[in-house]
């Protein structure tokens, strides 16, 4: 074994700058995708309870479509196909200049890479979240729904005010697991060119061949974010 380890190849100059901007992008994409995933999960839970059978069937079809294809293929579809389907005006605006939206490392929040990644990862995890919530909903006593209906609550309010909070409590641990999974899965977005942590580690590797140090730094960053996120999310439960 002969590994000349030299941390200065990673922790100084441009490589350090790249890693830090990669960290900022990973945090931003995780946040954006988490928001999308949460909305998607709540909407899917609502659609699953729809009184119309075709709506329920279509929802289940969409869920199994997302669950049974690789995230990477979905990202390629959103990036190469989905973006092209957006209205011309919106595309022009997204690729235009918005200095306030630019993260460190020249990554714009509206760049096709960022938008496709946030939407792709968000939708993917949203589906898995809705599956966890469904498991939590199955454990909620049927009387809860009937009681809400007898109080005059509509379907949407019954779901968001009565059923989902209880489902979330039943399935809190797996739900937290999905948000952690989301953060780790943002690493896949490097394959459509989003300059997050993994992308920057590769860039350092091709810049000065310090593969070990670069991937070690990236690994430490992911472990640290995951550790902090888990503490934050699980601490909320005790409060």
């Amino acid at each position: 074994m002969n590994l000349p380890i030299d941390w200065s190849g990673v922790l100084t100059g441009p490589p350090l700058h790249w890693l830090l901007s990669g960290l900022a992008v990973t945090l931003a994409i995780s946040l954006a995708a988490s928001g999308i995933a949460t909305v998607v999960a709540v909407l899917l839970s609502a659609l699953r309870l729809s009184p119309l059978p075709p709506v329920r069937l279509a929802t289940l079809g969409l869920i199994s479509l997302i669950r049974n294809t690789p995230l990477l293929i979905q990202l390629l579809v959103w990036y190469f196909v989905g973006f092209g389907l957006l209205p011309q005006g919106l595309k022009a605006w997204m690729t235009g200049d918005h200095p306030w939206s630019v993260l460190p490392g020249q990554v714009s929040l509206f760049a096709p890479e960022f938008a496709a990644s946030a939407w792709g990862v968000g939708l993917f995890i949203g589906v898995f979240l809705s599956e966890e919530l469904q498991a939590g909903l199955n454990a909620v006593a049927p009387g809860q729904r009937e009681a809400a209906a007898s109080q005059g609550l509509g379907g949407w309010h019954t779901l968001t005010a009565i059923l989902l909070p209880q489902a979330l409590r039943n399935a809190y641990q797996p739900v937290v697991g999905q948000y952690l999974n989301l953060m780790k899965l943002t690493s896949v977005t490097c394959s459509i060119g989003l300059a997050e942590i993994t992308y920057q580690a590769r860039q350092i590797e091709s810049f000065n061949s310090h593969a070990f140090e670069a991937f070690a730094a990236a690994t430490v960053l992911y472990l640290a974010i995951g550790f902090i996120l888990e503490r934050l999310l699980l601490a909320r439960r005790k409060a």
Partner: protein, 231 residues
């Protein structure tokens, strides 16, 4: 939006086996081979670890499950890069991209196999182990002759489900330019230029058929393997 699937018809053999007959295994064939190889490795490793933590002393179990969780808290993409860049540096041999991905998948999934196997074993009534030992069987014999066949009812379906997610994860070989299904799709896309929708939707459909089929198989197995059902 009009879709024109002639690009798929013109390249169907490339999607299925890439340049296999020119000496470079590829396409869907490589995807399935990689998933099978990684699946066998992670089954062997995961069941071995489960055995060790089931039969070994308590602390060993805590250490093994901690390590399995630690492995899974690093993104799989990074594990692939670790193996691809580090093994050559350590052993002075070049690792082909496909092998790096197989090893990374096996390493990553054996933790899941460990958890699934332990859960399957723990679902069995304690009395079975005690009865076996009272009959004069050794711990190892109790495991292979009494516990494992029963646990298989719960385990086989979860292994099949894990295999489906392994097939999806092989797509990450794309990042090392390994010519599996996703990479072949991307190559065809670069060559044809104007048919990304047809190409990527077709590729997604291929993965969907494979994985949905496996998940139905897992479900069917779970039903058929229940006690009282004929095999």
């Amino acid at each position: 939006m009009g879709l024109d699937f002639t690009v798929i018809l013109k390249n169907w053999d490339y999607f299925l086996w890439g340049r296999t007959f020119q000496g470079e295994t590829g396409g869907l064939l490589l995807t399935v081979l990689m998933a099978l190889a990684a699946g066998c490795l992670s089954l062997a490793l995961g069941i071995g670890l489960a055995l060790a933590s089931w039969l070994g002393p308590r602390p060993l179990r805590a250490v093994l499950t901690f390590l399995a969780d630690l492995v899974r808290s690093v993104p799989l993409v990074l594990v692939i890069f670790w193996i691809y860049f580090l093994v050559p540096a350590l052993f002075k041999t070049k690792v082909p991209g496909a092998l790096s991905v197989i090893l990374a998948l096996a390493w990553f999934s054996s933790g899941a196999v460990l958890h699934a196997t332990l859960a399957g074993l723990e679902a069995l009534p304690r009395g079975h182990r005690e009865a076996g030992i009272a009959s004069g069987l050794t711990d190892g014999q109790v495991f292979t002759a009494i516990l494992l066949p029963q646990a298989a009812r719960n385990l086989v379906p979860s292994y099949v489900a894990l295999f489906a997610s392994m097939i999806k994860d092989t797509s990450l070989a794309f990042i090392l330019n390994v010519p599996e299904l996703t990479m072949t799709a991307s190559q065809v896309n670069t060559r044809a230029q104007i048919y990304p929708a047809e190409i990527f939707l077709f590729t997604a459909a291929v993965y969907f058929v494979l994985c949905q089929g496996l998940s139905w198989a897992a479900h069917g197995l779970a039903v058929r393997l229940q006690p009282g059902q004929m095999l």
